[in-house]
């Protein structure tokens, strides 16, 4: 695909995915803080969806260049690891309730904003592989953004942010998802040979992020078996619906 024509589709779907985050803010907005275990399940759900999306990109986006894809994946992994190290958010637990401070709030927002960046690249790269894969990817990430926002707004309210403000923040952190989706898609439209690099980058970043943030947090919040079950089911459904579209 070497035309910029479907750019509108990319824009629309990535915006939709970003807006979906507002749903995750609802429990806080109505002053019904979700129990800790439910937050663990939300994390597991988000993680399973994430791994499924990575699978879809891995099997469909890297076929034209395995080496470039592998190198891209290492870059994606290094990007997330590096930004974590720089921001001092490597071992941040969004549910650490011991010391509610402003810095925990800032860090939570920063983590999710960076999170949205590689999701944006994933949407853009998937759109460039094939529009059906891209739209399926955007829908999956939209669903994924809901539990993610649930976790973020819970953390923000704990450090004293007002519910409606936390809802606005939860959506705002996803703005770069739209920007990077459009940017990644345009890059591939202009230079198709970049596709395996970008798809690989997204895959490396998504898998690493799931393993370094979502899963370890969820194990601390709920039992192993329930976490494994939810993650596996989410992963399985995405693989079946998205993994074999093309």
């Amino acid at each position: 695909m070497t035309t910029l024509e479907p750019l509108g589709t990319v824009l629309a779907f990535s915006t939709l995915a970003a807006l979906a985050a507002a749903f995750g803010a609802l429990p806080q907005a109505f002053h019904v803080p979700p129990p800790r275990r439910a937050i663990g399940w939300a994390n597991a759900l988000a993680g399973g969806l994430m791994l499924g999306v990575a699978y879809a990109l891995l099997t469909q986006g890297l076929t034209q260049g395995l080496l470039a894809g592998g190198a891209g994946a290492l870059l994606g992994l290094a990007f997330v690891r590096g930004t974590h190290a720089l921001a001092g958010t490597g071992e941040l637990d969004l549910d650490s309730s011991e010391s509610p401070s402003a810095s925990v709030g800032y860090k939570s927002v920063l983590v999710d904003a960076l999170h949205a960046a590689d999701e944006g690249v994933a949407i853009g790269a998937a759109m460039a592989v094939a529009l059906p894969l891209g739209t399926a990817m955007a829908v999956t990430l939209a669903i994924h953004n809901i539990p993610e926002a649930l976790v973020l707004t819970s953390a923000l309210t704990r450090v004293g942010v007002r519910p409606y403000q936390s809802a606005v923040i939860a959506v705002a952190v996803n703005v770069n998802q739209v920007l990077l989706a459009v940017f990644a898609f345009s890059l591939v439209a202009l230079w198709p040979s970049l596709l395996p690099w970008l798809a690989g980058f997204a895959v490396g970043a998504l898998i690493y992020r799931t393993l370094v943030e979502l899963l370890p947090e969820s194990y601390a919040q709920a039992g192993r078996t329930s976490i494994a079950m939810i993650t596996l089911l989410a992963l399985g459904v995405v693989v079946l619906l998205v993994g074999v579209t093309s």
Partner: protein, 245 residues
């Protein structure tokens, strides 16, 4: 030599190749808590990547069947865990270990052995097209089995099992491959419909073992960033490796 004997010998070769997976552990002498954690992370990544490959193959034969097979795989692990749990911890002895460690090793060997049944059927069915491509496919599968041996050894070695016995258990876990390949080759039409269920079952069991046991254990004993790096890199490497084959 009759055709089925050729298939059996080829498949046996792939099983023996799994033992090579114990080799990297020859060079690791000390067994620290960190090592247990990071070896578990590598095993998790390899199994996750291998499952992606199984699912990609299974969905080619049927999506719903693969998913159903996956759910059965999860149920199988839950039942096995329950059965092992009822044996009252202390009574389980595997190699030199007892209790928790023995339970994990036993589960690992069971999961990987069961998954080989499905792989054996896949080998037999793909041979069914003719033995001409046989040697090429065999080499591909033999190489593909080596990281699976790494995964098994990565769980067994940290518990103090010797490298030789890690290799032996790795080969053991792959023995169903030649055993299943021959009937699947001889009766392709009868086995083909069962294939997506089997592949899904193997993937479901392996991923559940990773998410429910290996990963949380790895997080508990090592640094998060290291566990995530090792597991993510192993998973991606495994998928790329299989696509390249």
């Amino acid at each position: 030599m009759s055709e089925w004997l050729v298939v059996f010998l080829y498949a046996l070769l792939t099983a023996v190749a799994t033992g090579l997976g114990a080799l990297p552990f020859v060079f690791m002498r000390t067994i620290s808590e960190r090592f247990v954690s990071y070896a578990g992370a590598v095993a998790s990544g390899l199994m996750l990547g291998a499952s992606f490959g199984l699912v990609a193959e299974g969905t080619g034969y049927g999506r719903g069947e693969t998913l159903l097979g996956g759910l059965l795989g999860v149920a199988f692990i839950l039942l096995t865990q329950r059965f092992l749990g009822e044996q009252d911890g202390h009574d389980i002895v595997f190699e030199a270990a007892r209790g928790e460690g023995a339970r994990r090793m036993l589960l690992m060997v069971i999961v990987m052995t069961v998954h080989s049944f499905a792989e054996g059927v896949a080998v037999g069915v793909s041979f069914g097209g003719g033995v001409t491509l046989g040697a090429v496919i065999t080499i591909a599968i033999a190489i593909h089995n080596v990281p699976e041996g790494v995964a098994i050894s990565a769980v067994l070695r940290p518990q103090g099992v010797s490298v030789g016995r890690c290799a032996a258990w790795s080969v053991f876990s792959s023995l169903p491959q030649p055993l299943m390949a021959v009937p699947a080759f001889l009766f392709v039409e009868a086995f083909r419909p069962a294939l997506p269920y089997g592949l899904g079952f193997a993937a479901g069991a392996m991923v559940f073992m990773v998410l429910g046991d290996l990963l949380p254990e790895a997080y508990g004993h090592g640094k998060r960033a290291q566990v995530a790096t090792l597991a993510a890199a192993s998973a991606v490497a495994m998928v790329l490796f299989q696509q390249w084959l």
